[in-house]
């Protein structure tokens, strides 16, 4: 009585068994996100090495998840971090709260805060997921937990 339905269902299974797989065996094989994917942030620098971030806290103000904390301070001739008077003394993003909406990047008046396509954010404690300025600044390499043997381009069409 239920046999036609079962056969009908099995038809879908059999059809897909011979199709090309859509999954990759992450983390050995990794598919790159699209270029405009919104992942982990970085803080950019000017060509002369000064930080683009001026500590204005607009990113923190724009953040709907309240994930960013900025404490500004004043540049001095002896310790200059950014052009102008103000720089970010403390800059933290809490990736447990971040929803990757990108409003902070939109708010940034100096294009200091950018988003990478990096999505591999994990840690063994809550503190590890609060990224500090040292980790976010562009000259710190992004460290992955596993080595990836093969990177697939984002536009690879699985269904051919």
């Amino acid at each position: 009585m239920a046999l036609p339905e079962i056969l009908n269902g099995m038809k879908t299974v059999v059809k897909n068994v011979f199709k090309k797989k859509d999954t990759v065996s992450y983390p050995e094989v990794r598919r790159q996100p699209f270029p405009r994917y919104k992942g982990r942030h970085i803080l950019d620098r000017h060509p002369d090495g000064l930080e683009k971030c001026i500590g204005c806290e607009l990113c923190a103000g724009a953040c709907p998840a309240d994930a960013i904390q900025v404490v500004a301070a004043e540049n001095t001739p002896e310790a200059r971090f950014s052009p102008g008077e103000r720089y970010a003394q403390i800059y933290q993003i809490n990736y447990l709260r971040c929803i990757f909406c990108g409003l902070c990047v939109e708010a940034c008046p100096t294009e200091a805060l950018l988003m990478t396509t990096e999505y591999e954010l994990s840690g063994s404690s809550r503190e590890q997921l609060i990224y500090t300025k040292d980790q976010l600044i562009i000259d710190t390499p992004i460290v992955r937990h596993w080595t990836t043997k093969k990177e697939l381009p984002p536009e690879r069409q699985v269904f051919s």
């Binding site: 001026i54 500590g55 204005c56 806290e57 607009l58 923190a60 103000g61 500004a72 301070a73 004043e74 102008g84 008077e85 103000r86 008046p109 100096t110």
Partner: protein, 940 residues
């Protein structure tokens, strides 16, 4: 119109308003916001920014709303196309040279220019040429940073410094496009009121140095509060970021501070979050060290001592709130049954209670608003600019704006001399005679200006001096001329202490105590003589504040068991055996009673460090430990009891004192939102359509996640008025017109100065006559009985020594003898040498300067560097006799202590020297001994 009212139409609404009011104010109360930069309700209009142009029917040109008084039948349109066009054009013009560096500007987020540009400005600018540039961030003083690029030339700071503060230190210079705001060359912007220019600056041109880059306004939570320093009690907002107070701003109250606050109040908040704050109870161990302990153990130690102690002295500090005062008073007079309780430290012995002879109130009968309606003001007291800065502003306004005549009686040139009609330069202690001269009209030139209404102001001026004759004279003057009296105690909590009966001879509500206890001096003398079993210091630091350093050293040197409730490990705390940490003003609910007896409410903002707690709670726990459960769980319980037991405060309704502002049903109009009813753009409802970031008359809530609005407006000055409690129900009855106290013959004689006898025991001269002759005690006989029936007054006398107490004392660890004064004590003869060898004795006239070494202000980073070094001010003639000139160093001695101080020549009575009371490096109380101190000055 006949009743001084006119009717006009604003944007189609008919409004009735008082004649001569400004259009901008009337529109604002209707809910029509006219954009503005230069207009400020606390200052005169100048109409320079041209932002508030509105269309008035019948006028060919647009009129500035801030300089146009309303007239009958006026038809005003603020959202007319022509007016809106002018406003947009003006904003575009102002933005031509504005750097638009909002991301690094502290004002961003609460900036009038920013918000009004969003609201009233054009969408874009047509100006593409390079902007005018100046050097950024000039530090024009230790507190203020100037960024000239951002200035929109509204003149507010210039007008404030000239009109309100009287310190002309900032000015617009140059002409045309090169106009810039700048301080005078080589002249720093060192005004006591410089912080106000930061708050009124409509852009980020004047910025606070301590707050620079510290926070964004949207990060702040805020709570209304009251300044914890002086007795004026300016309302403030405390603003905190991440549980740390980072900014204070003036809240307006037209009754108290108008729109202003002094720099000490504005920048003096750092102490709240100081690392040095006490965070847990401390108990002195056998090894003579402090050990952090639990509240339970510390309370056990204290209550154990109190159970056996028979002779208890309590000194409370004058920075405590009214509830703390009531708790201290109750602990002393009800639970511990002692009247040996006093709150007068710096003003030790100041006879506030004698003011009660005038009206039944041991305090002011005048309000600060009475100053403005007064025809004559008599000032007898310290320099208000140093001690009560905002009172100086109010006095200045009364004299310069309202035309009151000011008579200053002072032995030394003070700030008020510059605006006074008459200055009576008297000897130190000769104030009484001078005031009597006014009473009886001896000096016709001066007395002819004593008009009605008259306000007589008195404040204790020189610590350590007997103010009795002066108070008698002042009270006599007030009585004789039917004047109001403004009593100016020094600190935020001083008046609350007197109101609540933290006084050896007054119970709460100014009812005289049945038994007269020891005052501060008496308590310390008892301690020094070993006749005290336990000394409670509740927010009191006698080492720093009491005007007899030697006596304090002997008191602590005697090893009396001392309990301290304090914010900081002060020098007095170092002598304590048990220490309880106290909560600071920003961390607690409470009320301060200011010098006009106005009660204003503090709201908590941050959490106290560790387990610190309010002093009233500590008193209540001590009483509980002694088996007297007061049943207080919170602030409201204390006030329920105050209302029930203190007759003057029976009707004080704190829901009103801490009111969240009367709801204002304003509706704001804007040209951008369509409104079907008027055929033009209108939006309704509080706050709707008002510039973004503006709280727009909405209630000011504690913990609201937005600070004070950027623009203090006229109606806001009426939002939290505070309450002045009633006077005692029955005024002093049946007193025949009491003649003023006999002219004090030798009020400050040298022999009086030498006596080390408590004033309470031997009232001198006029003192005795007033106490027995005036109705101070008799007048309140009817008052006294219900109060004593409540068990407030002690019934038994104080007993002598008890042997078990002595036994208990042996357990007290010995203190290190470093503070023992014995080695440096000289004989009295040594103190007063003859006029020879280039040295002379001078009457010491001392007083606090605004920035000093007080426990709170010295923990305030921003103000610490502003405190001047101690100096000695001499009359020119006296200095010449001693061979000293300005800038020299002089050797000043007294009480066996010598110090080398810089000489300043000043307008001071001959035979007197002025030494600031408590400046970094050296405390003047170390050379004070006894009452009416005398010091010796000589060439080093």
């Amino acid at each position: 119109m006949s009743d001084g009212k006119v009717t006009l139409t604003i944007n189609g609404h008919d409004v009735e308003a008082e004649e001569n009011r400004l259009l901008i104010d009337v529109a604002e109360e209707l809910g029509v916001y006219v954009p503005r930069f230069c207009y400020h309700p606390g200052m005169k209009s100048v109409a320079v920014c041209r932002m508030c142009l509105v269309k008035v029917e019948g006028s060919r040109k647009l009129l500035p709303a801030c300089a146009t008084p309303v007239t009958d039948g006026m038809v005003v349109d603020t959202v007319d196309e022509e007016a809106v066009d002018a406003q947009e054009g003006m904003l575009e013009f102002l933005l031509i040279n504005h750097p638009l560096d909002c991301p690094i500007c502290d004002r961003a987020g609460e900036c009038p220019l920013q918000d009004q540009t969003y609201k009233h400005g054009p969408g874009s600018s047509r100006y593409i040429e390079p902007k005018r540039t100046y050097e950024k961030a000039l530090e024009i003083s230790d507190l203020v940073v100037l960024d000239r690029e951002r200035c929109v030339l509204c003149w507010r700071c210039v007008r404030f410094s000239e009109e309100i503060a009287g310190d002309a230190f900032i000015q617009l210079i140059d002409r045309g496009a090169g106009t810039q705001v700048l301080t005078f060359k080589d002249d720093p912007f060192d005004s006591y009121f410089s912080g106000n220019t930061i708050q009124i600056c409509p852009v980020g041109a004047l910025l606070s140095k301590p707050y620079r880059f510290v926070s964004r306004p949207w990060d702040l939570t805020s709570a209304p509060s009251v300044c914890s320093y002086c007795a004026v009690g300016c309302p403030l907002t405390n603003e905190a970021r991440a549980e740390k107070v980072v900014r204070c701003q003036a809240l307006p109250n037209e009754n108290v501070n108008d729109f202003w606050v002094c720099d000490k109040g504005r920048f003096g908040y750092h102490y709240v979050s100081s690392e040095e704050r006490l965070a847990s109870p401390l108990v002195r161990t056998d090894a003579d060290e402090f050990e952090a302990t639990s509240w339970g153990r510390a309370l056990d130690v204290v209550t154990g001592r109190l159970r056996t102690a028979r002779r208890i002295g309590i000194i409370a500090g004058a920075h405590l709130t009214t509830e703390d005062a009531y708790a201290v008073s109750k602990l002393a007079k009800k639970t511990l049954r002692t009247s040996d309780v006093d709150s007068r430290l710096q003003d030790a012995g100041a006879p506030y209670e004698r003011a009660a002879a005038l009206s039944g109130v041991a305090g002011s009968t005048a309000t600060l608003n009475d100053l403005e309606s007064a025809r004559t003001i008599v000032w007898v007291g310290p320099d208000p600019k140093e001690v009560l800065p905002v009172l100086y502003l109010r006095l200045r306004k009364s004299v310069l704006e309202e035309g009151a005549k000011l008579i200053v009686v002072s032995p030394r040139r003070i700030s008020l001399d510059a605006i006074a009609t008459h200055v009576i330069r008297c000897d130190v202690g000769g104030e009484a005679e001078a005031v009597d001269g006014l009473t009886w009209g001896f000096d016709t030139a001066v007395a002819g200006d004593v008009g009605d209404p008259l306000v007589v102001c008195w404040g204790p001026s020189s610590p350590g001096r007997d103010e009795g004759p002066i108070v008698d004279a002042v009270v006599a003057l007030a009585r004789n001329k039917n004047a109001k009296l403004l009593v100016c105690p020094p600190h935020a909590g001083s008046q609350g202490m007197i109101d609540m009966g933290v006084h050896p001879s007054l119970d709460p509500g100014y009812t005289p105590s049945d038994s007269r206890g020891k005052d501060t001096r008496g308590i310390l003398q008892a301690a020094a003589a070993g006749e005290l079993d336990i000394l409670l210091l509740i927010g009191a630091d006698p080492v720093a504040d009491f005007p007899d350093g030697g006596l304090v050293a002997r008191a602590f040197g005697s090893g009396v068991f001392t309990v301290a409730v304090e914010l900081f490990p002060t020098e007095s705390v170092a002598h304590a055996d048990v220490v309880f940490p106290s909560a600071a003003y920003a961390e607690r609910e409470g009320t301060f009673t200011n010098l006009e007896r106005r009660i204003q409410k503090l709201e908590p903002l941050t959490a106290p460090p560790g387990s610190a707690s309010e002093p009233w709670r500590i008193c209540s726990r001590i009483a509980h430990g002694l088996g007297d459960d007061w049943g207080w769980a919170g602030f409201n319980d204390v006030w329920t009891e105050i209302r029930a037991t203190v007759p003057t405060h029976a009707h004080v309704d704190l829901t009103w004192a801490g009111q969240e502002s009367r709801p204002l049903s304003l509706h704001y109009e804007s040209p951008f939102q369509p409104d079907p009813t008027h055929g033009r753009s209108v939006s309704a409802g509080p706050g709707a359509g008002y510039p973004k970031g503006h709280r727009s008359g909405a209630p000011f809530h504690t913990g609201q996640n937005w600070p004070l609005s950027w623009e203090l407006r006229g109606f806001e000055a009426r939002q939290r008025p505070g309450i002045i409690p009633s006077r005692p129900p029955e005024p002093p009855a049946g007193d025949d017109p009491v003649s003023p106290a006999p002219a004090p013959g030798a009020p400050a004689g040298d022999d009086a100065a030498l006596r080390l006898i408590p004033r309470t025991d031997t009232p001198a001269g006029g003192d005795a006559s007033l106490r027995s002759g005036t109705p101070l005690s008799s007048a309140f006989a009817s008052e006294a009985s219900p109060s004593s029936a409540k068990g407030w007054s002690r019934t038994g006398g104080e007993d002598g020594d008890s042997p078990e107490v002595k036994a208990g004392k042996s357990g007290v660890p010995e203190r290190s003898g470093e503070s023992s004064p014995a080695a440096t004590w000289h004989s009295v003869e040594d103190e007063f040498p003859s006029f020879s060898e280039g040295r002379r004795s001078f009457v010491l006239y001392t007083g606090r300067l605004l920035y000093d070494e007080g426990a709170m202000v010295s923990k305030t980073v921003a103000l610490k560097s502003l405190a001047r070094r101690p100096f000695v001010e001499l009359n020119e003639e006296d200095a010449k006799e001693l061979g000293l000139s300005e800038g020299d160093e002089a050797l000043v001695g007294g009480n066996g202590v010598r110090a080398t101080l810089e000489v300043r020549l000043g307008d001071i009575a001959r035979g007197a020297v002025f030494i600031p009371y408590d400046q970094p490096g050296w405390r003047a109380n170390s050379i004070i001994r006894g009452v009416n101190p005398v010091v010796e000055v000589r060439h080093p």
